[in-house]
Symmetry: C2
Subunit: 188 residues, 2 copies
């Protein structure tokens, strides 16, 4: 048995996403989100550091999967391929939730503050990736550059995958974007 109605955190996340979608991030107060979840403003800030963070709870999981996949790539794999494997694993995680990922992305696209938060999450992914590559023996500045290139590929592939006209597989888009990246840096 539980002492309190469980799922406060999940209820806050749902309420926030719904309200941000309905009236926009800026026109939604934390008090309103909390009220819809049957809680108070004070409790909201016990679960989330700020009003934006409520949209990014999945970032940790994604980063953990990315890092572990890269770390576990065969030692024979060249850095960029280890990164590619990690990105494809991350893509697999998102694959099932395309609908909610799109809804979330629309909300983020409508507000600069949310874009800032998203960018720092991606920067965190990049930093973690670079660290993992260094542990695989990649030296600087190659580690940082490989990580940044990987995240760039992810960003572009994600934008294509989330597009409403897209029917393609996320993993496929990752591989295609990576090939384009190789072509482009090679001077084509």
């Amino acid at each position: 048995m539980v002492r309190w109605e469980p799922g406060s955190r999940a209820r806050l996340e749902q309420a926030a996403l719904a309200l941000y979608g309905e009236r926009g991030f800026e026109n939604t107060t934390v008090a309103e989100i909390a009220a819809r979840a049957g809680l108070t403003k004070r409790t909201f800030f016990r679960y989330f550091a700020d009003k934006r963070e409520v949209l990014f709870s999945g970032a940790g999981t994604l980063q953990a999967l990315l890092v572990s996949t890269v770390a576990d790539a065969p030692a024979s794999a060249v850095p960029i391929d280890a990164v590619a494997a990690g990105l494809e694993a991350a893509a697999g995680l998102l694959q099932e939730r395309r609908g909610s990922a799109r809804q979330r992305q629309l909300v983020i696209a409508a507000n600069a503050e949310l874009q800032e938060r998203e960018l720092i999450k991606l920067a965190s992914l990049s930093a973690a990736l670079a660290d993992t590559l260094r542990r695989r023996g990649v030296s600087d500045p190659a580690a940082g550059l490989t990580a940044e290139a990987g995240i760039a590929v992810f960003k572009i592939a994600f934008a294509g995958w989330i597009d409403e006209t897209n029917q393609r597989d996320f993993g496929e888009l990752i591989r295609e974007s990576l090939n384009q990246m190789k072509a482009v840096t090679a001077g084509r």
Copy 2:
């Protein structure tokens, strides 16, 4: 002649940088910055949209230079080389101000909110770069990937240039990072 003591904007920027450096971004109030500049909080917000923006007034100039250099690159230049020319021009702009660039970067490195703002400025650079490439006839997703790769190179080169132990030329670091990027994406 001027009607009011000129340079309010510059005074606010100096005061903010000094205070952020002395006591940290979070421990500095806008009222304190304004007071040191001989102004009020309300006037601060007439010059800057928020407390962070005061550190990023140069971003517009940098972006304009980057874009115009890429746009004016010879038509024969392959996209990645046009971008490289733009990055080197941008590097030239910063080259003279290494001291203040370092001071500013230390302040930013100490605070996550400021890093978010910096990241969105870089994202804006990337978007402008991609647009310029499209106007040069580069198609998607190559335009976006080339722009992202370029900004990644800039980030890594900048980090190396700003490092206290570094003695190298910024443009040289840009070229070296770009070569590393090429090597790394080629699978080395």
